[in-house]
Subunit: 397 residues, 2 copies
Amino acid sequence: MDLHDDQLLPPVGYTASGLACGIYPDGRKDIALIASDRPASAAGMFTTNRVQAAPVHLNREHLIDGKAQAILINSGNANACTGEKGMANARHEAALIADRLSLTPEDVLVNSTGVIGVQLPMDKVETGIAGVLDTLGSGWDDAAEAIMTTDTVPKKASATLTIGGKTVTLAGIAKGSGMIAPNMATMLCYVVTDAAIAAEDLRGALSQTSQRSFNCVTVDGDMSTNDTIILMANGGSETGQISDDNLSDFTDALEQLLINFARKVARDGEGATKLITITVNGAKSEADGRTVGLSVANSSLVKTAVFGRDPNWGRILCAMGYAGIDFDPDRATVSMAGIPIYADGAGLEFDHDAAVEALGAEEIPIDINLAEGDAQIVIYTCDLTYDYVRINAEYTT
Amino acid sequence: MDLHDDQLLPPVGYTASGLACGIYPDGRKDIALIASDRPASAAGMFTTNRVQAAPVHLNREHLIDGKAQAILINSGNANACTGEKGMANARHEAALIADRLSLTPEDVLVNSTGVIGVQLPMDKVETGIAGVLDTLGSGWDDAAEAIMTTDTVPKKASATLTIGGKTVTLAGIAKGSGMIAPNMATMLCYVVTDAAIAAEDLRGALSQTSQRSFNCVTVDGDMSTNDTIILMANGGSETGQISDDNLSDFTDALEQLLINFARKVARDGEGATKLITITVNGAKSEADGRTVGLSVANSSLVKTAVFGRDPNWGRILCAMGYAGIDFDPDRATVSMAGIPIYADGAGLEFDHDAAVEALGAEEIPIDINLAEGDAQIVIYTCDLTYDYVRINAEYTT
C-alpha cells in the first residue's frame, strides 16, 4: 500500500468540481460536487449529536439502500437547526442534482458545513449547483478548497494498493478545524475508490477504521451537528469484488488514509501551532486508552502548556486522573516530546532548557503508559492558542 | 438568613492568620492558618481525581473521627505527585501545628495549592508555620489572600441566621480560578461556624449543599488533584445542638453561602471577563440538567462566543446535543442575555444590535428549557479569553 500525502489521484470513473456561488460574501469557493459515472456502493458515518443538521438526516435516509452516485457539499452554512424548511431545501438540492445527472434523488448525498441556524440562500445555492454540474471534471483541488470553513489548508490524500494484479485507488478530501471531537472526528470527509465492494463490507470497513482515526481526533471537545464521512466504491478498477481474501488489505489502506486525515484535521485545528499525538500504551482496553488519551487531549491546561512550550507534566497527570479510568499513578509513566518526565509517582529530573527546545517542534508526542494492560491507541489533537480565541470570538454573525 | 457578601464576620472561637513565607518568589502571601479555640465537628469533600495530592490523602485520614481544630493552607505549591516524601512533609506540617496548639496531629488539616510535582520547600514552610502560629488573631483577610493562586481577588463571605433566639454565624474563604471543574468545584473552600452540629449531620449538610453549588461550577473542565472543601462547627454560639428541627435552616444558609462562593470562583475564572449562569429548566432530573448545563458551560465555542459578544445560539444547541441526554430539539427553548433566541427547532428573529449590547453585561444568563420534566439546576462558568491562554501558557516553570 502506498500513501500519497497531499495528492489526489482520481480513482477510475469519478469527477469533481468546486467554485464560489456567493454563500461566503468574500468570493471564496463554497460549493463542490463529486460524482461517479457508474453506480457505486456507499456507506456513511454521522455525528451522534442529538441535534443533527438536515443533510445528515437526509443522507441517512439516502444510504439505506447502500448506494450513491453523487455528493454535493457546501461550506459557509451548516443547514442545521433550520427546521422543516432546511429539510425541504436539502431535498431540493438532491433533486436538482439527480435531475441533471439522470439519477434518483436517493443516489445523491447532500452536505453542509458552516454557521448553524441560518437557512441556506437557495438562489445562490441553485446557481452554484448549476455551476458545479457544468464544470464536473478534474476539479478535485477546487472541491477540496470549496469545503473549507476555518481550515487554513485544503486536505487531500490518496492511497493505492494492488488487488488481483490491478491497482486500486482510494482518494479523499476532508475539512475540519473547529468543533472537532469524537465521535466522530467532527469533520467532513469524502473518500471514493474504484474498488468493487459490497455495501455491507464497505460499512464494516468504515466502522472499523474510524475507531483508530476519526474517533481519536479532538480539537476543542465540541462535537458538531454535521459530522459526516462518506465512502463510495464504484468498481472502476475492474479487480472483481473485494472479498474476505483481500478485504483486510483494503481496510488497512483505508485506515492509513483516514489516520492521515485525522492528523491533518488536528494539525489544522483552529489557531493551532502544533500537532499533539498522545499515545496511550498499557491500557486494559482500547476504549480505556481512548478515554484517558482524550481526557488529556481535551485539557485546556495541557493544550496551553504545549503552546507555551512548558513541560508541565502535572497537568497531564491531572487530566489522566479525572478521565474516570482506574490506574495506579505510582506505576504509570509519561514522556513529553521524547523526554521521560514522570515515573514512580513523581516527576523525573530533566534538562529544562532541552525540554523547552524540544517543545518547539511542529509535532509534540506525549507518551503515556498506564501499566495496566496491553492495549494501545493514538489520539490526535493540537495546542490551544490566542488564535483559537480570536477565531471563535469573531466568527459568524 | 442574611448573606454578607465579601465580608468575613468571625464566628465565635475562631482565629486566622496569613503571611508570606517565600514559597512565591515575589513576596506574595502564601501560607494561612485557621484555628478554633475549642474542639469542633468537621467534614470534608475532596477531588475525585484518581491522582490526589498528599494533603488530600492526609485530610481524609484525619477526618475519619469527624473532628478537627486547625486548618493550614499554603499556596504556590500543590504537594501533588510528590510521592512518599510529599506525604511525609504533609504529616510533618500537621505535627508542627499540633505541637504548638496542644492538639493531636489528627485534629490538624493540611492543604496545598499551586504547581503540581514539586516538593514543598520545607525550610520556608516551617518558617511560615511559626509565623502564622505567632500571628493567629483577626487575620481573616490575610488568610483569604494567602490561599490565592491565579485568583485576582480574595474570596470571602459570611451568613448569619437565628437558631433558638441566638445568632449563628458561618464564615468562609475560598480560592479557585483555573483547573476548575466538578466534582467538586475544583477549588479550596473553608467554612467555619459556631453552630453546634454532630459530625454526621455536618457531613450530610455538606454533601447535600455541594450538589447545587460546587458541583455546578466549571472554568475549564479540568478537575484538580487538590480540590477540598472543609466545614468546621465548634458550637461557640451556644445555641445547643442543631437537630432535625432546625437543620434545614442551617443547611439553607450553608447552601446560599456555597453558591455565593461558586459564583465568585466562576466569575474569577482565569482570564474571565464575564460570569455565565446557565439555568437548565425542564430537565427529567437534576442530574440530567447538570449534564446538559455543564456540556454548554465547558464548550470552548460557547465560551468564546460570550467573550466575543456573539449571540451564536447554534453553539449552545450543539453543546446541548452532545451532552448525551435525550431531549427533543424541536421542543427545547433557549434564551441568551434575556433574549429568546431559539424555539420550535429554529432560531428566532431578534434585534442583533440589542443582543450584542446585552452581551456586554458582566453576568450573562443562558436559559435553557429542555421541555422534558420539572427539574432545574444552575451552572456557573465564565467566558474563554485571550488571557486564559496567556495565563496558562506562561504559568509554572
